[in-house]
Amino acid sequence: MKIGEPEKFIIDGKRLDGRKPGELRKVKIEVGVLKKADGSAYVEWGGNKVLAACYGPREVHPKHLARADRAILRCTYSMAPFSVTDRKRPGPDRRSIEISKVTRQALEPVVFTNLFPRTAIDVFIEILQAQAGTRCTGIVAASMALADAGIPMRNLVPACAAGKVGGEIVLDLSDVEDNFGEADLPVAIVPQKDEVTLIQMDGNFEKGEFEKAFKLAVEGCMKIYEIQKEALKKRYGGA
């Protein structure tokens, strides 16, 4: 047993933080929170606090990266040194670089990059406080920042993880569930289109468990999608 591991994860059908297995943590989304960025969003999701900013379409530096037929989308996921338990050294580590890549690939399918050839659309995601699920929170925030910047998109991209703790499939792992649980499955989708834009997984799913967790994660995405739309409406009004 690792230090700090709880004996049980679910007691009387309730998780350690009181949630039911299929319940999300509290999510709060605010759009347009920064002045200098072309678009921005702030997301609080459980204990996560994440800021995203979008710049673009703008000139590409260095120039040789520009594409004649479309904009390049670039995503940078980064964690503030004080966002985690043990201070993180500033600068990108290997984990951040991987997450930046899968985040870009989670968003790319919805952005009409072909409308802005030879330009760059840059998205910066800053984790100010981390508490399990930062990559999903980041994707949700990034998607809102793109929308706030007026970048044409087919749809928003919600993201949510499911996982396995104490042998049970649950939605949206908490910190302790993430650290000591048996599996984590973050998923991002294009709602209404049956398109999965991100799926990663680590841990152990027996036959059957994967499918159950996957469907739960997609349901979680749909709940997040509603909150995303609500936040846009709140900002821009809406029909």
Binding site: K2, I3, D202, N204, F205, F214
Partner: protein
């Protein structure tokens, strides 16, 4: 995975697939010929050379003694690193690891780590002070697509082939290997599928990788449990496709596992 080829090439491959053919005439769910040669190095504590078609990857395992992580004081440590050597492809460049290199390292690390195939608790020497560190280093030698599966296969093959060196007064005598094997209790592998247009193929060759829309790598252990997964590419999968591929992966994994 790494570059754009002309739309023409993409059209050609998509059309070929639409008529149920691949550039190298394989079935959609067929691996290229695979060769696994364990024990190719005397300097490494474990090693393996894997060829999947023209793709060649060499994996070496080095053991060292060092400190455990402070939150896991009684467990050995494992580290996985891959190098996309410019020797292996005109597409690879010198310099610090880029996002593709890092993704490869981490996805291979994931299946080894999460399958718990190495009994890390047996690698503790003195709790909180000294444990064995397992360095898994993958060197890409010839790149013709599907590095994930080749590297993961090389890693588990090299690990199963790893023997401890002699230790005298707390000092490792690397020149003398013992008979004691690294405690490896599972044979996790990874299988990778590429979606090109509407078709999905196993084990994409480089030409297919260059035009793919989406990619998925699925790692399983001997029991058939899923241990690792990674989607790539700028396109998408449907939910059904993913569930389908997870099942297909279980099947194809057995073929790979026989080789190690």
């Amino acid at each position: 995975m790494f570059d754009i080829v002309a739309d023409i090439k993409k059209d050609f491959i998509v059309n070929l697939l639409r008529s149920k053919k691949r550039v190298d005439n394989r079935a959609f769910d067929e691996y290229r010929p695979i060769v696994v040669e364990p024990g190719v190095s005397e300097k490494a504590e474990g090693s393996s050379l894997v060829k999947i078609g023209n793709t060649q990857v060499m994996v070496g395992v080095k053991l060292a003694i060092g400190e455990p992580f402070s939150d896991m004081p009684d467990l050995g440590v494992m580290m996985t690193n891959a190098e996309l050597n410019p020797l292996a492809s005109p597409r690879f460049e010198k310099g610090p690891p880029d996002e593709d290199t890092i993704e490869l390292s981490r996805v291979v690390d994931r299946v080894i780590r999460e399958s718990k195939c190495i009994e890390l608790e047996k690698l503790c020497i003195t709790e909180g002070e000294e444990v064995w560190i397992v360095f898994i280093d993958a060197h890409i030698l010839d790149y013709d697509g599907n590095l994930f599966d080749a590297t993961a296969l090389g890693a588990i093959s090299a690990l199963r082939n790893t023997r401890f060196p002699k230790v005298e007064d707390g000092r490792i005598i690397y020149s003398e290997k013992t008979d004691k094997k690294l405690p490896v209790v599972d044979r996790p592998v990874e299988t990778t599928f590429a979606k090109i247009g509407k078709d999905i193929v196993l084990d994409p060759v480089l030409d297919e990788e260059l035009v793919l829309d989406a990619r998925i790598t699925i790692g399983t252990n001997e029991k058939g449990d899923i241990c690792a997964m990674q989607k790539g590419g700028d396109g998408t999968f449907t939910q059904e496709e993913i569930i389908d591929l997870v099942n297909k992966s279980r099947e194809k994994s057995e073929e790979l596992r026989k080789l190690v």
